[in-house]
Symmetry: C2
């Protein structure tokens, strides 16, 4: 089952010639979830050969322009491409006002429906769920209401031992039950306990997306043991005061959160364009949390 994230933009509010504005594309089992949609996201999707028409879910962390302004063009492009399937947008309730007042002037005839799913930013909330996957919010600490998102696989089915299938010849219904943890009763009434029939399921993977935020340990229990954490590192450590006043984080702070949450891997991004040398971001972060990578536009990271 595929599970990956592609970085579409890695700059903070001012894009550079190398880094576009924020957007990530999460692919779980060929379902595509767009996370934030800065200006130029539709061009980045094309540039990195992603399947624009297959995005059915868009999550918006907060309503600052550098996370939203690509939505206008993308919604319009969907329409021009002949989209018919419903689009789900998960965001602060104000997103509907913004889009409704936009539609007064532009693209008032979308040929598909938008379903809005609103959330607050104070408590974690399950906002998406299918048979294999779920998405919850992670309240963050920013100038305006802002959340991160935890993308998480549901517990997977146990694997039946091949030799048990040959020995007991369970029917299809039995196999489903066994995979879900049930014992098996043979024709002569003997109970075979599940742990003799099965092996442990593959582990369920998770990806936590946390931007924009000040350093806040309140997120640690929510992202505990995540396989991959994206945490913003807008500033280098020398600018920790600036990070605090602008409600952003430094390299060191991103690393500390990764460490406290015991995540397996950290990606840092949302880099301020004020620094000439990007390498310092990685150097500072990995001095505290070694398994760190820097976000680059087009980078794809596989989670399973």
């Amino acid at each position: 089952m595929s599970f990956s994230v592609t970085i579409l933009g890695s700059s903070s509010a001012l894009p550079t010639s190398k880094r576009n504005l924020t957007a990530h594309l999460v692919n779980h089992d060929e379902r595509f979830f767009l996370t934030d949609c800065g200006e130029g996201t539709q061009m980045q999707l094309r540039r990195f050969k992603q399947k624009i028409g297959r995005i059915n879910h868009i999550f918006i962390s907060h309503l600052h322009g550098d996370h939203v302004f690509g939505l206008f063009g993308l919604l319009s492009t969907f329409s021009m491409m002949g989209r018919k399937s419903e689009l789900h947008i998960y965001a602060n309730p104000q997103i509907k006002e913004i889009l409704d007042s936009h539609f007064i002037y532009f693209q008032d005839n979308l040929n598909y429906q938008i379903n809005y799913h609103f959330f607050g930013a104070k408590k974690p909330q399950l906002i998406y769920e299918d048979s294999k996957f779920e998405v919850s919010t992670i309240p963050l600490k920013h100038r305006i209401p802002c959340v991160g998102f935890l993308f998480k696989e549901k517990p997977k089915q146990r694997n039946i031992r091949k030799e048990c299938v040959e020995l007991y010849k369970p029917g299809i219904k039995d196999i489903i039950n066994i995979k879900n943890g049930a014992d098996f009763i043979t024709e002569d009434g003997k109970i075979i306990p599940n742990d003799k029939l099965t092996l442990a399921p593959p582990s369920s993977k998770s990806y936590a997306y946390c931007t924009d935020t000040q350093y806040t340990e309140s997120i640690v229990p929510l992202i505990k043991d995540a396989d991959l954490l994206f945490h913003e590192a807008t500033f280098l450590k020398e600018d920790s005061k600036l990070a605090k006043t602008t409600y952003h984080s430094t390299t060191i702070q991103a690393a500390k959160i990764a460490q406290l949450a015991n995540v397996k891997k950290l990606i840092i991004g949302h880099f301020s364009s004020r620094y000439k040398n990007d390498e310092q971001f990685l150097k500072e972060t990995s001095s505290i949390f070694q398994n760190t990578v820097m976000a680059e536009d087009g980078l794809e990271i596989t989670i399973n």
Copy 2:
């Protein structure tokens, strides 16, 4: 005196991995005029190393998203860059409503002033003028009110012959008058006619920008003898019916306008993404108007 245009985006409404949405940057004597502002324009300005902070005038041809959606991010970026100088926006009056309703949600604290200059789309209108340069509208034929823009140098001063300066030793005021066409009166009252004192001035150059539009010969007198014409060629000639119903032009139609208007050079652009082979655009257009070039993102054309 420099006069050039840089193509920032050459696609029609759907961008491709090679062609961004519409925007041109006109540079006259180091004054910068942005013409249309499709999504991603601020990134293209950076990519092609243009001076974002020196753009003081933005002209919007019409209020379709592919010509406007880059404005939201650009206005916000100006603010983040600490802009203080006034910005002039020339557009249909509705632009103010659009931006005002946008500012309710985003960037309500721009640290510079926007001066709006409105125009209709029925009659040609002079909308900008400085001592050396002027910009007028060119009414086009599109689904909604739409204009092109004629960027034109004002008549230049005549050149004084060097030998006349040595012979008659005119003062600074006299020189200014002579350059503007006046005769010179010597100390002993002799009148020296201007055509003996001066050479003809360098010719005044012009650039006509015409997109989006159906084929319309009504623009021919307005763009007559232009040094450079940008005319949209959204479709190949085989799709002339589609061009008509969508209020766009074909290659052949762009070439015919260039021919009728006797322009010196034609750039075609605003290409539909439906065609696999771009070369056909140039082939068809130059079969009728030979001095044609294709717009490419980043292409700079010098006009003088």
